[in-house]
Amino acid sequence: MPNTFTKIASVSVGVLGSSSLSFTSIPSTYTDLCIKLSGRSANVSNFDNPRLTINSSTSTFTRREIYAENGSAGSEVASDRLIGVVPAFNATSNTFGSLDFYLPNYTSANYKSYSVDSVTENNSSTQAMWLLAGLWSTTSAITDIAISLQSAGNFVQYSTATLYGIKNS
């Protein structure tokens, strides 16, 4: 049972925005990884979808999630790298979404599963929230994780991602 959270690194977006937030050379000394993202997209929409890249790989990802978007609820299965939602340009100014990403056993030689919960913030009925389970069907140990946006837009200034390592003892 994981019982420690240690901050490994944090990255914050500057005034120019950034299309990708990356953690490289992740040490193998932990059991699980967790990323806490406070993010907002510059894309002209109500919300946007953060997207995962692991070890520079963009393939062998699958996910299943339940969601609520704009007052409707549903579920979805897809073979892509989306990991949730963040508010975007049309959402209430200066609001940021919360996304919690957890990936156990990141150094194992098995396929890597992960879970995410995320929610946007907006003073409107145009909201989104996702609960997601995903799988990266690759046996390599994870050393690099990057988060970009489905719209190919930028994360705005003050978006922040923090990577934590969790040990099982």
């Binding site: 990708s20 050379s25 963009t58 930028n154």
Partner: protein, 71 residues
């Protein structure tokens, strides 16, 4: 200029760099896929709404009456 921010977890060094040619190409492909997916969602939602409206007309009931039947 589109940039990526990287933090090297071993050294703590933070680097902001322009996207590589491959990353730009991937970004463009992702943007196109995103636009296509959004369009597909809109088309599906419109088709579902139209089918629902047509069925209500065929049944000769309102949406509220249909809710009563399903309650």
């Amino acid at each position: 200029m589109t940039t990526a921010i990287e933090v090297n977890c071993a050294t703590g060094e933070v680097t902001e760099r322009p996207l590589t040619t491959e990353e730009l190409a991937q970004r463009e492909a992702d943007a196109q896929a995103h636009a296509a997916a959004e369009h597909e969602k809109e088309v599906a939602a419109t088709a579902a709404a139209e089918a629902k409206a047509a069925l209500l007309v065929k049944l000769g009931i309102t949406a509220d009456e249909a809710k009563l039947l399903l309650a």
